[in-house]
């Protein structure tokens, strides 16, 4: 990719994103239910992409993402309601608080590996939830009501795009490479002179920051914050998104976050069978694409342009084969 070509790409992508936004507004703004789904898709994108940085790119198994979301949500809500801090500043406060908590939690727990780290992050998220339940000032178990509904599609959309831009730039930067090296082989990374702990903590803190941002957006969208919104099951939702999208693929996370948000709403017509149908969809995806929809690859412009050529060469894929419309990173 030449420099001029990539410089040209920026305005093209911006125009495309703006058109997409206008298209979404034109198509769905008449129906608040659809708008809500779009907002949730954008927030889930922020959550999935930020979790992917920790799990997919740095190879750490965190299942406490909802905990960071909760911290961001409540701090942002407190800023808005009690201190009347402007919306964007409140969101930033929530995100920073989540990042600080990420740092405090990350330094001791990132010495752990695999299952142990998973249990530690799970425990952390539960602690956050229990703390919230016991703070009467923010409603405790009744929930925190009366948060001004400042969030709209423009903000969720902008922040989702921003998150993707920041995290994909990070992944392709020198520290991002270090994170990839840690994921691939921690010992080899150390012997290349990569300070593994440092980069694990950086990824963890960045992930927590954006999770906190997502939390702030969410509570200003629903105008309520409730401890049950940030349970273990919520963390699992985000985990499902990155596994379905493909760990280590940002475009995969975006696709899966939107897809899962929409599909879980679309399945409402199955009523009591909804969760069963949802599980079936997930099982089907995992059976046919165990590496996730994009499986660590990115959806690129070049890949999309090449689709006709690839389709011509397309054979029936073996399980885990076939990668239409994607190219290597």
């Amino acid at each position: 990719m030449t420099r001029t070509k990539s410089l040209l790409k920026v305005p093209v992508v911006m125009v495309a994103l703006a058109l997409l936004y206008l298209g979404l507004i034109a198509g769905f703004s008449h129906n608040p239910y659809y708008m809500q789904i779009l907002n949730m898709a954008a927030i889930n994108t922020i959550m999935a992409v930020s979790l992917n940085l920790i799990n997919g790119f740095t190879g750490q198994f965190s299942i406490g993402h909802a905990g960071f979301m909760g911290v961001g949500a409540y701090v942002a809500a407190v800023c808005s309601v009690f201190y009347k801090i402007p919306y964007l500043v409140a969101l930033l406060c929530g995100a920073l608080a989540a990042a600080v908590v990420g740092l405090v939690v990350g330094i001791p727990t990132l010495r752990l590996k695999g299952d142990y780290l998973a249990i530690a992050t799970l425990g952390f998220a539960e602690i956050i939830r229990v703390i919230i339940v016991n703070i009467q000032k923010v409603g405790g178990p009744r929930g925190f009501l009366g948060i001004p509904p400042y969030t709209n599609l423009l903000w969720t959309y902008l922040f989702a795009v921003g998150t993707v831009v920041v995290i994909s730039n990070f992944v392709n930067s020198s520290p991002g490479r270090a994170c990839l090296a840690v994921r691939e082989d921690e010992v080899a990374a150390e012997s290349m002179g990569v300070n593994a702990t440092k980069y694990k903590v950086i990824a963890f803190v960045m992930g927590a920051f954006f999770a906190g941002l997502g939390g702030g957006l969410l509570v200003h969208l629903l105008s309520i914050a409730h401890p049950t919104m940030f349970t273990f099951l919520k963390s699992v939702d985000f985990l499902i998104m990155i596994v379905v999208g493909g760990q280590g693929s940002i475009t995969g996370s975006v696709t899966a976050a939107s897809f899962i948000t929409v599909i879980s709403e679309a399945l409402r017509k199955f009523e009591v069978w909804r969760m069963l149908a949802y599980s079936l969809v997930l099982i089907m995806i995992m059976l046919t694409r165990p590496q996730g929809l994009l499986g660590g690859k990115e959806l690129t412009w070049e890949g999309i342009v090449n689709v006709p050529g690839r389709l011509r060469r397309f054979r029936l894929p073996k399980v885990g084969g076939g990668r239409v419309g994607t190219t290597g990173h």
Binding site: R177, A181, E184, D185, A188, S191, M192, G193
Partner: protein, 233 residues
Amino acid sequence: MLEVKDLNVFYGGIHALKGITFSVREGQVVTLIGANGAGKSTTLRAISGLVKPRSGEITFMGQNLLQVPAHKIVSLGVSHVPEGRRIFANLTVLENLEMGAYTRKDKNLDEDLKRVFKRFPRLEERRRQVGGTLSGGEQQMLAIGRALMLKPKLLVMDEPSMGLAPLLVREIFSIIKEINEQGTTILLVEQNAHMALSIADYAYVLETGRIVTEGPAEELAKSESIRKAYLGH
């Protein structure tokens, strides 16, 4: 260049290195040979800061390595080709090599990439292929190439012959000799004593955590007891 003095390492209650002393002089190939469990890899792990010795000294170009954290030792110019190669399996050959230069301040990698590709033409052919799909010999070349990207003063190699066919072992060793002839000092740890002695200047024989014999590699290769114990003829 590298001085190790009276090094003692324990794994829990197990006394793995019982006071070993050796040195590597600039421009040499020095080899540590010995059977499984003799303490060869432990010695290297101590040099690269991955295990903390209980007592002893390790100095590299006058600097005490025991006070330097593992990831900083690399930037002093000690580059490690780890046992079992440990290449980044999901990154391409090119990305693996770039990773090797991670701690370098200057980012003019093109020249060094050219140098590595000149030595390993096979890697250039496969620069876009992911590391995990290379053959064992190619992976070893990649691991060596990756370590060379750092322009090391001392190249530490742990069992480069491991898991390779005899023909490839010979090729890898002639490459190691070439690298040395172009000015890189090498500390080589091997079970394949025959090959190691054939390219080394000086050798130490380790047995259950102690150095039992040392001497110029040529002499050791001729010595009766060494031939019986390690060379099998």
